[in-house]
Amino acid sequence: MAEDGARRVVVTGLGAVSSLGTGAAAFTAAIRAGRTGIAPIRSFDPSGFPHVMAGEVADFAPERLVRRLDVTQWGRSSLFAASAARLAVRDAGLDPAVLAAARSGSAVGTTSGESAVIEQLTGQWVDKGLEDLDPALVRQVPASQISTAVNRELGLTGEAQTIATACSASNYALGYAFDMVRSGEADYMIGGGADSVNRWAHAGFYRLGALAKEVCRPFDAHRSGILTAEGGVALLLEPLDRALARGARIYAEILGYGVNCDALHPVAPDPGRIAECIRLAHRNAGIAPSDVDYICAHGTGTPTNDATEITAIREVFGDRLPPISSIKSMIGHTMGAASGFGALACCMALADGFLPPTATVVEVDPALGPGVDCVPGTARPARPRIAQNHGFAFGGNNAIVILRRMP
C-alpha cells in the first residue's frame, strides 16, 4: 500500500502514436474493432528477410504533432515520445502553461532507444567508415534524449527519466511517475514509452525463431511468434484532488505496481518470478487476486511467453482466471512502449466499459489449460473495475501496474 499521507494518483490524459492511428480515440476505436496495424515493412529495406511484416507508424509526421521541437534535431523514438506527450496534455484539457509552471517531469521507457538513428550511423560506418559518421546524428543517439524531448516539447523543468528496461520499460516508467506524484515529488508526470522498428531487432527475433511471418496470434494453438512494432505512448498523471478541482476527465486511478527480476536467464522468462511480481503488484496496490477483472497480457505471441504467463497467473489466481487478452495481436510488439500501450488500453477499457480483444486468436491453445478467456475477435462490452497490466522483458525485468475505474 501507499505510504501514509500519500496522494491518490489518476490518469487524466492519453496520447498515442501507433500503427493503429494517432491519438487515444483512433487507437481505441481500432482496438475495439480488432483491427490490425501490421503491414509490409517500409522503414528499412526488408529484402532478403523471409519475414517482412511489422507494425510501423506509417506516414509519421511529427511536425504536425509537436509545437516546439525542431523535428530535424531529434531521433524517431524521441519524436514518438514527444508527440504522444503533446497529445496526452491536449487530451487532458490542461493549460500547457500551467503544466510547465508546475513541478512536472517525465519518465519514458524504451528498449533500444534511438535504434533507427543507430542504424543510420551503422550504414555510414559500413559505407564510409566510422570517421565519416554524421555528427548531427551522433548527438541524437543517447536514449536520454527520449525523455528530454518530452520535457523540451512541453517546457517541463523537472526530471527527465529514460528507463531502458527493455520490453517492460513503460510499466517501470509509469510506476516511477506514479511514485513521484504520489509522494509529492512532482505535481504532474508524463509516463509512457517509445521505440522504433529496426533491422537488428527484426533479425534478432527471426534468428531466435520468435518472429511470426504475417500474424501475431497470442494464446492460439497455431501461434508462431511476435511481430516487431513501434510507436510512442504517454499518460498524464496528476493527484486526484487536483484533477477533481479542475474538473478533469479521469480515465483511471493507478493503485500501485510491482517490479522484480528473474535473475535467472537473459531471455527465458520464469513463471515463479512472474507470479511473485503479480503478488508484489497486488500488495503495493492493496488488492486481492479476486479484485482483478481483466489482465492486459504481455502476450507476445511466442509459445514460451504464453505458457509462462498463464502458468504464473494460475499460480496466483488458481483456477478462476480473469479474462486475459493481448493487444499485441493488433499492434505487434512495440517493445519499450508495449506496456504503455497496454496501460492506455486498460484506461480506456475501465473508462468506457469494454475488454480489449485478442483479435487474431482462432483456436485457444488447449495446452494452456482450462478457463483461458482471451477475448477473441473484437472488444467485449463489460464493466471491469480493476485491470492488471503486464510487462516482461529480456533481462528478467518484470513490471506490473494495477489500475482502477473511477466510480
Partner: protein, 373 residues
C-alpha cells in the same frame, strides 16, 4: 515558452517546499577505472595522475584523441568463471565492479537479502558497440538475418543490469537508466524512490561506460570533447540502503547520500543553480558546510557548471575535484566516478556536492556527507 504572461496557479497546486530527504547510507561499493581496479588505485591516480602511459585502447580503429582504457581486466579471474567471453565490455566492467562490491561488504548478503536487493545502473545506450556490430551484420552478411542469436541480448540496453542480477542472484527491482552524463544522478533518484516506497531494501546503484570505436569516433566527429581531453571508460557502483537496514545487517556506513535533484532547461547553468539550492535545502545543510565540490564536465560545459555552483552557494567550495581530468570523460559513468573519487579520497571531511551538466540542457547534483560517527 508559448506563454509569457503570468501563469495563474490553480487551487490545490500551491507548491509547498519539498521536504527534507531521508538520508541513505553507502555501505559498500567498488570501482573499475583507467586507474585500475578498486578505490585505492583511483585515490593514487587522483594524487599523482595515471602515472605510466595509459595502456593501448582495446581496439585499433581509433580517432586521434587520447583514450584512457581500463588496464588489464582479467574478467574470468575476478568472477571465478570462464563463461564471460560472450559478454560485452559494458557488462564485463559492471560484473567486475559489482562482484567486488558484494564481496567487500562487511556482512555478505544472504538469500533473503538478495530477493530484496535491486540493481540500478546508468548507461545511455547500453553497449553501443554491441548494438552497432549486431546491426552491421544485417548489412554485411549474405543474408540480413545471418546474425548470431546468442549476441542479440547484448544489443539490448538492459543486458548489463540483467546480467549483474543473474550473476549475483539479485532479484529486486532491476533498472537500466539512460541519463547521458546525468545517468548516475537519475539512477540515485530511481534507487532512492525504490527503497522509500518499499520495493526493495537496498540497491546496488552506479553507472557504466565502455570505450569502443563507435563511441570514440562519435565523440571525435561531434567535437564534444575539449581539445586535449581524454575519453575514458569505467564502472562504479555503491550499495545504498537505509541507515536502520545497514545497522540491522551489520554493515558500517561509509557515507551518507543526501538530496539528489535534477532538472531540464535551456539555460543549464541556471538549471544547475536551482538544483543545488534545492538540494542543499533538502539535505538540511548550509552552503557553508559544503567543503568539496566534485565537478563532472570539462571545457566549456565545465565553466557553466562552475557558474551554477557559484551562484547557488555564493562561491565555490575550497576543495574542487575533477576526476574526469584524471580518468577521462566517462559519460554515463561520470557521476558514479565523481562519487567514487570522493570515497577514494574524502579529503578533510564536511559535506560534498557532486554536480553534473549535460550538453542536452539537463543538470543536477547530489549532496553526500561522511558517515556520522
Amino acid at each position: 515558452m508559448t506563454a509569457t504572461t503570468a501563469v495563474t496557479v490553480p487551487a490545490g497546486s500551491r507548491a509547498l517546499p519539498r521536504p527534507a530527504v531521508e538520508p541513505l547510507v553507502i555501505t559498500g561499493g567498488d570501482v573499475v577505472s583507467p586507474a585500475g581496479i578498486g578505490f585505492a588505485a583511483l585515490a593514487g591516480a587522483l594524487r599523482t595522475g595515471l602515472g605510466d602511459p595509459p595502456g593501448d585502447a582495446p581496439f585499433e580503429d581509433r580517432p586521434p584523441i587520447p583514450l584512457r582504457p581500463v588496464p588489464d581486466l582479467p574478467v574470468a579471474a575476478h568472477l571465478g568463471s570462464k563463461r564471460v567471453n560472450h559478454l560485452d565490455r559494458t557488462t564485463q566492467l559492471a560484473l567486475v565492479a559489482c562482484h567486488r562490491a558484494l564481496a567487500g561488504l562487511d556482512v555478505p548478503l544472504d538469500e533473503a537479502d538478495r530477493t530484496r536487493t535491486g540493481v540500478v545502473l546508468g548507461t545511455s545506450t547500453g553497449s553501443i558497440r554491441s548494438s552497432s556490430e549486431f546491426s552491421r551484420e544485417t548489412l554485411v552478411q549474405d543474408r540480413p538475418y545471418l546474425v548470431r542469436a546468442n549476441l542479440f541480448p547484448n544489443s539490448v540496453m538492459n543486458c548489463c543490469t540483467g546480467q549483474v542480477a543473474i550473476w549475483n542472484q539479485l532479484r529486486g527491482v532491476n533498472a537500466t537508466i539512460a541519463g547521458g552524463r546525468l545517468s548516475g544522478l537519475n539512477a540515485v533518484r530511481y534507487a532512492r524512490n525504490a527503497i522509500r516506497q518499499g520495493h526493495v531494501d537496498r540497491v546496488l546503484v552506479g553507472g557504466v561506460e565502455e570505450l569502443c570505436p563507435q563511441s570514440a569516433w562519435g565523440w571525435h566527429v561531434t567535437g564534444a570533447l575539449p581539445p586535449g581531453a581524454a575519453l575514458g571508460e569505467a564502472c562504479a557502483v555503491f550499495m545504498v540502503e537505509r541507515p536502520a537496514a545497514a545497522g540491522a545487517g551489520g554493515r558500517t556506513p561509509r557515507a551518507e547520500l543526501l538530496a539528489c535533484e535534477v532538472g531540464t532547461g535551456v539555460a543549464p547553468s541556471a538549471t544547475l543553480a536551482g538544483c543545488v539550492a534545492r538540494a542543499v535545502r533538502r539535505s538540511g545543510v548550509t552552503a557553508g558546510e559544503i567543503r568539496t565540490v566534485s565537478f563532472g564536465a570539462v571545457g566549456g560545459l565545465g565553466r557553466l557548471e562552475e557558474r551554477g555552483v557559484r551562484v547557488a552557494l555564493g562561491g565555490l567550495p575550497a576543495r574542487r575535484v575533477r576526476v574526469a581530468e584524471v580518468v577521462g570523460e566517462t559519460f554515463s559513468a561520470g557521476v558514479a566516478m565523481q562519487l567514487a573519487a570522493l570515497l577514494a579520497d574524502p579529503g578533510t571531511g564536511g559535506a560534498a556536492l557532486i554536480t553534473s551538466i549535460g550538453p542536452d540542457g539537463n543538470a543536477g547534483c547530489l549532496v553526500v556527507r561522511p558517515a556520522a560517527g
